[in-house]
């Protein structure tokens, strides 16, 4: 397929623009990486761009990774991410499918009711009483998974995507005798892999980053999720905790570099999810390319 000069120019300009984008958006990660490997004292005095670590040292990582709760933190969070995301998908897919069926008379009222909950809620205390006292989920990892089973936002996105699937395709399946569950799991879901991949990303990242619920419900330090452990490490080493002389005097405890090591430990694993999911985004274009 021949490309016009205009299109080729555009392609070139686009590539340049994208490269610029890479440089600008890569910087924050570079900054954090360098800072995490830097000596805290030198780091605190540094201003401006940080293109290389200052006084390379693994001190901060040692500090973070030697925290007694770090291992259990990872374990807990991985459990929450895997089990939580699986359950999220199950329920969200059910919801998105049913609410996208035009034949379902209640779909708009239910949608409205769901959207309503995005704006109005009862606050922390009633939810706490429900989960802790009534359902006895307090102090367990389930308290971090079940309350957030369905994200309304994600549900809406998935529903929008499911609604796009051609009705005739599904109709012919129905005529052939397929039930709704079959249609959902054997036709709709495989056709919607890009959106489902996005959902895995959204829910997965959500679980990975969450810490507030743990603060409320978890009392056993062994059940702390990763982010909570890291948050504690951060506060323990914070330069802001300069109160009445209760902080340690040693330089290592300044912890400016620890802040960044914490971010790296917290962020790096999740960054690798997206490249895995990327292949699902390529489907439509790939098929087109093959045809070319």
């Amino acid at each position: 397929m021949k490309r016009s000069i205009g299109e080729r120019l555009f392609g070139g300009a686009n590539a340049i623009l994208m490269t610029g984008l890479i440089i600008v958006t890569l910087y924050p990660l570079l900054h954090v990486l360098n800072a995490s490997l830097s000596d805290s004292g030198q780091l605190m005095a540094h201003r401006g761009l940080l293109l290389f670590p200052k006084g390379i040292t693994m001190e901060s990582y040692k500090l973070v990774l030697s925290n007694p709760n770090i291992l259990s933190g990872y374990r807990n969070t991985i459990f929450i991410v895997v089990v939580g995301t699986a359950l999220n998908l199950l329920f969200t897919i059910l919801g998105a499918y049913t609410l996208s069926r035009k034949s379902f008379m209640l779909r708009n009222p239910i949608m409205l009711a769901i959207v309503f909950t995005m704006f109005f809620n009862g606050g922390i205390i009633p939810s706490y009483l429900l989960i802790n006292n009534t359902l006895h989920m307090g102090n367990s990892l389930w308290a971090l998974i079940v309350p957030g089973l369905i994200s309304s936002y994600n549900l809406i996105i998935m529903r929008t995507s499911f609604a796009e699937i051609s009705e005739s395709l599904l109709e012919s399946a129905r005529i052939d005798g397929a039930g709704e569950m079959l249609i959902l799991w054997r036709i709709v879901v495989p056709l919607s892999m890009p959106v489902i991949a996005v959902m895995i990303l959204f829910y997965g990242v959500g679980h990975w980053n969450s810490w507030f619920s743990a603060i409320l419900y978890i009392r056993d330090r062994n059940l702390f999720p990763l982010q909570l452990v890291l948050r504690e490490i951060l506060i323990q080493n914070s330069t802001d905790s300069m109160t009445t002389g209760a902080t340690a005097m040693d330089k290592e405890a300044i912890g400016e570099s620890v802040k960044y090591a914490t971010v790296m430990v917290a962020t790096l694993p999740i960054l690798f999810i997206y490249p895995f999911l990327q292949k699902y985004f390529v489907k439509g274009v790939m098929i087109g390319a093959i045809k070319e």
Binding site: G41, M44, A45, H46, R47, P68, L87, L90, I124, I125, Y128, L129, N132, N133, L135, H136, M137, G138, N139, S140, W142, A143, V146, A173, D176, G177, A178, G179, M181, L182, R186, I187, A214, I215, L216, I218, R219, D220, R221, R231, E232, I235, Q236, N237, T239, D240, S241, M242, T243, T244, G245, A246, T247, A248, M249, D250, K251, A253, I254, E256
Partner: protein, 542 residues
Amino acid sequence: MTELLIHDTHSMGGREVMKRSWRKRLTIGICLMMSIAALGGCSGGNGSTGEAGGDGPTPISIWMSMNTNASITLKSMNEITAIKEWEKKTNTKIEFQHPAVGAETEQFNVMIASNQLPDAMFVNGDYAKLFNDGIIIRLNELIDEYAPNLKKILEENPEVAKQLKADNGDIYAIPHLRLGEYKTFGGTFIRQDWLDELKLEKPETLEEWETVLKAFKEKKGVAAPLLFGAPPKMTTMGPAAPTYLEAYGITNNTFMKDGKVVYGPIEPEYKEFLTMFHRWYQEGLIDPDFATNDQKTYDAKILSSQAGAFFTFIGGGVGRYLPALQETDPNANLTATQYPVLNKGDEPLFTGRSWEWSSSGVVLTNSNKHPEETVKALDYFFSEEGHMLKNFGVEGLTYTMKDDYPTYTDEILKNPDGLSVAQAMAKHFIANYPFVGEDDDRYNEQYYQLQQQKDAAVLFSKYSENTLKVGLPPTSLTTEESTEYSKIMSDIGTYRDEMFVKFVIGVEPIENFDKFVDQINKFNVKRAIEIQQAALDRYNAR
């Protein structure tokens, strides 16, 4: 694709099988959700576990925020050496419950809401309110009978008793007390090496300060001769401390003048201060970025030697900055300066002195089944034995008596496992953060290892008695008063902070000071002053 699926269903037997199949899946789904809820596992109970049994140790559960130094090496305060000793001596079994660091308020609130209270809690807050809501109990009688050591201290120090009691005489907490000499933990420090280089004396009056700062600017060429921060980005307890304002005899909040409550920013001295500070700003004597400074930029400017003088804390501030500075410049030196005054020979009034009662202590909740034993056990820390245990640990292990002076051993000062002094202390006893009992100056003297720190502690505390004349004591407001007061003061606070920056930078001309005062009056500051005055009168009558 559809063909494939149809093929499948036919091979399995068609429509009927499909119907059964989805229903089965659905049932599984719902069952899953139910069992998820049930599988939750039991929520940990919060009341004390185990029976007291006539002779066995009394179980007492205490909710307390875990200090960061302790949490680095220990999983819970139960493991602190001093605590284990305490259990033995008082025949108790203590169970500490720790909220996640940084989330104390939330856990506290939900704990109360779900009615799962421990036996005791270490808090710093509105005790009267907790009592009025029925969450804690009154301790006067219990102290009378079961806390002889504390009772003695209160009788010998009526001022302390006054601080501890509520307006109606109730005592709600077993307190953390500071009865020693050292009551101030921070102040203005200056680059002594620069003073030496420029052959200048440490400044005492505002005039002398201006001379020194000018010299720093012209001769040393630094960007921030006086490093400063502004609220709310930095707190007035620290880098935004109104030290220079206080040289005028007023401060930027409510305080006492001849026994009457006054609000500083509407006093005429405030205008004088603003005029001076604005002049300093124009001449480049104050850090031009003061309004945007946060802790990080503050630290960075100090460590890169861009700052000549600044407010910081003796322990956590000097202890960090000085060694770091000396790494690159062995001559660097930070010394403490006295709180500045207007005229030579004047004595500073405001010294950031803390009160004997730090406002924190242990309260007993309404679910405490052994209040007598609890009070008795807590009282142990006020005895001579308990006092030493709390502040110095175990004799032989963490301290030895040298000429009647408890000296920390190497386990603390040069810990073999590489722990810092504060961490080693936190592992064995409780001296450098609030806990039941009385603090001891000898701890401070040794904790501050650098000579500059020891000197600072003495210098800052020199005039702390003066502050008694101007500082508002720990009064208590009723709930209604408190609500009204906060409402008024929060709007005033925003306005005051905003206008402060505008006046100093010059965006707002000093001539408009009267309009500023008018506006604050419009916010009904008079009512706020009234409220505080009433609380003060009640306090004095205790």
